[in-house]
């Protein structure tokens, strides 16, 4: 069980919840890796999967960003600070963090897709010396649809090359304009010794993966996170499979190599 300590309204449809475990013993012993997820319960309504959005390097609270879409997320959005939720975590696999050390990093995010990327990004920022160039290309439909706007300055201050974009011109918007795959092609970050991690709406991922291939990125250099309707979260209920792979236990993080081995059922 966890208590909601803080709620941040990121965008009109996305709220970030900062939770604290009720049981101090769990708090002391809880550990996880960037990329892992948790299943949050609103008892009486149901349970849904969200990536653990805070990095393991910042333990004051456990953070999840939730887009209001269906039954459970609607119920979550109606909760207030002080309310209790259930949490089953950590579940799933994580980004192969150690293999990324000593390399350049490229994050490509769209909308709520920035959530899993943030976890890994902050872990890297908190260990900045272990990584070379960190470039983040992050886009959304409009400026108010970008999450974590209040952190952008801090990311830049930590030596992150942050490229922000929205789909079209907006008054007062001074950063880039264009779809994420277009900006990716314009920025064309060099694939040499670089790892690319992308997450966002399925259509964006499709074009980004193609764009990365065009820039010369190999399957082994690319990572993404996949989503599926989930229930048990532990590989038993038979629902979230793509081929023989269960997104809940074998994912949500998948390399480009792993993706290629899966049947085309995205």
């Amino acid at each position: 069980m966890a208590v909601i300590r803080d709620i941040v309204q990121e965008t009109p449809t996305i709220r970030t919840f900062r939770l604290a475990w009720k049981d101090p013993a769990i708090s002391a012993n809880f550990s996880f890796q960037p990329g892992q997820v948790g299943q949050i319960s609103v008892f009486g309504v149901g349970e849904s999967t969200f990536v653990i959005n805070s990095p393991p390097t910042r333990r004051e609270y456990l953070q999840f960003s939730v887009m209001r879409t269906g039954e459970v997320t609607r119920a979550l959005h109606q909760l207030n600070v002080g309310d209790t939720v259930g949490v089953r975590a950590p579940l799933g696999n994580s980004f192969p963090y150690t293999t990324m050390k000593g390399r350049d990093i490229l994050f490509i995010g769209g909308g709520i897709g920035m959530a899993p990327l943030r976890t890994l990004l902050l872990t890297m920022i908190d260990n900045r010396a272990d990584f070379g160039d960190i470039t983040v290309i992050y886009g959304a439909r409009s400026p108010e649809d970008l999450c974590y706007r209040y952190e952008f300055d801090a990311w830049r201050a930590a030596g992150v090359n942050l490229v922000l974009t929205v789909d079209r011109e907006f008054p007062g918007w001074t950063e880039r304009v264009g779809f994420v795959p277009t900006i990716l092609a314009e920025e064309a970050p060099n694939p040499y010794n670089r790892v690319a991690i992308t997450c966002g709406p399925p259509i964006m991922i499709k074009f980004v993966l193609a764009g990365l291939k065009e820039l010369g990125y190999e399957d082994e250099q690319i990572y993404t996170t996949l989503e599926r309707r989930m229930k048990c979260g532990i590989g038993l209920c038979g629902r979230c499979n793509i081929g023989g792979t269960y997104v809940c236990v074998d994912g949500p993080v998948f390399s480009g190599t792993a993706l290629r081995a899966m049947p085309p059922e995205l």
Partner: protein, 355 residues
């Protein structure tokens, strides 16, 4: 002294044995439904019930270890008067399960439990609810006289005298049944039965057993279908063609001894509630329907493809045998007689792969 592992029960003594077994455990047997005598189902034994060994039961015995509705936890939700915050309390979990016995199922049904064990006990996470039931469960299967037009146990690496998944195997002979214990749990049951089979009875049993096994000798195997499935996956026209008459209901899934898909829902009654596990089917439209509106398997063609893939490719490659026992229920009771055997065979048949 050798551990006694075989015994004999006469036809006349069978009901007495069932009554005795039912005293110590929840005993499930295949019996005709009172108001639908052509429908034999697995049900808790009651004195006076006649086992039906001739007709193939409609349902599988999986309900005993995998109930159609199972409470996972209970809770009470409300606002605490002091803080006005939404508070949830988890209540005491359900009681310890009773010992159970499945008595008189066929080898195909027993093999269904093998698939369940692989899925629920041998993955990265163990299902504690299933495990608690399974540990206290005994399976006594009966050798089957042979296949009907819908059966295909021979095609999936089994046969009507298969012992896999059983603790005790019963072989019908002219005067009754010869029982062979196959596991330690099975020894426990057989040990308490007084009569040992005579040599003549054992000989007759061997003959019945051999005859049953040989009845599926010339069946074309579906065991190595995974490579054909992989090649055929993207052939959308193939899947549309072969699934055109499917109604996308859940008969095949719910009757299948090896299907284990479930959903989890919260069901409330005022402020109290339970988190319930219940049967679900990958054949239903909602199964993979995401809140965003996206559905990776929007039509029955993709869903049936997933069914075939799970049973004959994904599970098969992971565990060395298909998630299918060949009982034929999916075919026998399908409203439009969808034939999974024919589809699996067809996957490897033609060279053309259309877009």
């Amino acid at each position: 002294m050798a551990m006694k592992s075989a015994s004999f029960v006469s036809s006349a003594d069978l009901s007495g044995l069932l009554v005795r077994l039912a005293e110590k455990a929840e005993l499930w047997v295949p019996a005709p439904e009172d108001t639908a005598p052509h429908r034999v189902t697995f049900r808790p034994f009651q004195a006076g019930m006649d086992l039906d060994g001739h007709r193939l039961p409609v349902t599988s015995p999986k309900k005993l270890l995998f109930p159609q509705g199972e409470e996972l936890l209970r809770f009470r939700t409300g606002r605490s008067s002091s803080e006005a915050a939404m508070e949830t309390v988890l209540l005491e979990e359900s009681a310890d399960p009773r010992p159970t016995i499945v008595f008189g199922c066929r080898p195909c049904d027993a093999r269904g439990f093998v698939v369940f064990d692989r899925a629920f006990l041998q993955g990265p996470f163990v299902d504690p609810y299933y495990k608690a039931r399974r540990d206290k469960n005994l399976v006594v299967s009966m050798v089957c006289p042979g296949p009907d037009a819908a059966c295909f146990c021979g095609a999936v690496g089994s046969h009507p005298a298969d012992t896999q998944g059983s603790d005790v195997q019963m072989i019908p002979v002219s005067e009754g049944y010869v029982l062979h214990a196959l596991t330690e749990k099975g020894q426990e049951l057989v040990r308490h039965l007084e009569n040992a089979p005579s040599q003549a009875q054992e000989q007759e049993a061997r003959h019945v057993w051999e005859s049953a096994r040989r009845s599926v000798e010339n069946v074309v195997s579906l065991m190595d279908s995974a490579p054909h499935f992989r090649k055929r996956f993207a052939d959308a026209a193939f899947w549309r063609l072969h699934t055109e008459r499917c109604l996308s209901c859940g008969v095949c899934t719910f009757l299948c001894p090896t299907c284990y898909c479930f959903t989890i829902t919260d069901e409330t009654d005022g402020v109290q509630g339970q988190r319930l596990r219940s049967w679900d089917a990958c054949m239903f439209h909602h199964f993979t329907q995401e809140a965003s509106g996206h559905n990776p398997r929007p039509t029955k063609a993709e869903r049936f493809r997933n069914r075939v893939g799970h049973k004959f490719s994904y599970f098969a490659e992971k565990h060395g045998h298909p998630a299918c026992c060949g009982c034929g229920r999916c075919l026998r009771h399908c409203p439009v007689a969808m034939d999974i055997r024919a589809i699996v065979r067809a996957m490897g048949e033609t060279e053309d792969v259309h877009a």
